[in-house]
Amino acid sequence: MALLEVNNLEVCFGLRKGEVKALRNIDFKIERGERIGIVGESGAGKSVLGFSIINLISQPGYVSQGEVMFEGQNLAKMNHQQLRSIRGNRISMIFQDPMMTLNPVLTIGDQMVECLMEHRTISKQDARNIAVQKLQQVYIPSPETRLDQYPHELSGGMRQRVVIAIGLLMDPDIIIADEPTTALDVTIQAEIMELMLELCERNNVALILITHDLGVVSQVTQRTFVMYAGRIIEQGPTKEIINDAQHPYTQGLINALPQMGVRGKRLHQIRGAMPSLQSVPVGCAFRERCDYAIENCSHNVPDFTESGGCKVACHMVAELKREEQAVKLEIKGGAQ
């Protein structure tokens, strides 16, 4: 059994204009110690996915279909009491902006001790010791003094380290990191990602990395899911996706990355913008921006087609595969 299994998850937001489906048909599994990346542009539903895993979607959103199975229990159906014993304890979450995630009026020690004492019955002194130990794990110098400091006394990178330490506090099974490095500059970003990679490997923690940065994903994760307009459109081993993207959207994303050594050219960009979730077109949501769109794209939502180690939701890829198959068969037939 996988550690976390998301089956056919659908998340709706009940707005005045009607229901908006922020996530549809999300399926994935994550094993213990595995690191996956979820990429996509703004508004693709990445963060909603992160929050819906621990059932913390803010009003008026709700899980309308599907299940989130964590060790055989459905998180989408749990009551508050049960959820609280999972959140922070077994599954923890790291947010984008470390300036905002730490409470400005409480010392770092207070915030850490509080979390520990909520989930375990230990004395304050023991809790402090664990906190010091975790701060050491994220390489914060002189952790004892840091405990009594307020968040504004630390730099951005330090703060994100503290946030990660808080995430690790209860030795969780899964960490959901929602764009953990977006607010940091590039050098700190690399440090933090290295740190997260090291910690996940050492403690055998599963990582769900939500980001729009393919560079970060390629550095850290083993498998990647590409999201577009609330659906997963391509999934597979990170290496294959980066090196040999099949879906036109993923290709577009990768082409849009600035390349070192290529001078003086305009960056590629995907024309158009993502459709509003209130009016996702029939068929493939990417159709209108896609250079390879075929007739079928405007009628049916594409299913996943296996291509190499990846699964791609694209009619064009499916068509190509079919042709390939036919050619192969012909060759075989011809040989006979």
Binding site: N103, L106, E114, E118
Partner: protein, 316 residues
Amino acid sequence: MNMTAIVEEQTVSNWQRFRQSHFWHSFCIDKVAQISFLVFVAYVIAALLAPLMAPFDPYDPGSIDIMNSELPPSWQEEGDATFWLGTDAQGRDLWSTILYGTRVSLMIGICAVMLQAFLGICIGLVAGYVGGKVDSLLMRLADVQLSFSTMMVAIIVLAVFQATFGTQLYQELAMVMLILVIGIAEWPQYARTVRASVLAEKEKEYVDAARVMGLRAPRIMFRHILPNTLSPILVISTVQVANAIISEAALSFLGLGMPVSQPSLGSLISSGFEYIFSGSWWITVIPGLVLIVLVLVMNLLGDWLRDVLNPKLYKG
């Protein structure tokens, strides 16, 4: 007053931190704030030490001589050196009575505001954090409460109480009743302020982070959100204490406040009012001045605090 108390309890490093803060700095450069604070502290000390400072005990009928009634302050021609500020119509020393009256007024003001703050903060936090129907219900309740003026509620409640239970019991419970009435009548001020801040704070990521940690809702509300809404609470508290003191004085003036045997500043003013045309101006004017200065000083402190705690006005 609050800040110094907190700082004294904590370690030296916190004291140093306080000395370097923007708060302390702006206090040091603001003459008005310094004077207001000094005067306020003087009031508090006078109120606390009233039994030691007062030459007479105005609550003890044995020490009062009716022959001494309506003596003018000692610097006037007919004044008596034993009664610095003169005496009132019953022959009580006005200085002692004002000291005790300040004590009563401050006590009522602060206790009533504590009650208001307690009710208002709890209700505001719940309304802001839970939202939805609970929010609407609580805030409509606040609107209803606000649509009755404090005075009207107080007059009705106190008059009914006096009529039902008799003056004897009323006189014994006057202070408690005033605190309750003023406290309950004004909670919506706090509830609205707190709710507004909570709505803003609730959207911040640290609240999400606390929820992700698996903390309970009351814990998030009181330990994480409440401390972040403290500055507006502090500011309205100073103004509300001043308001509560005025309300109490007004009620006492109308004869629904503190009884004449345990006068507050308001009932002193009221008791002297009958004699003002017979020339005994001091019975009304002196407690009146004391009251005005007290309220003024608190409002000035509140203004200063609002400016200091408002990040938009921060001048660095």
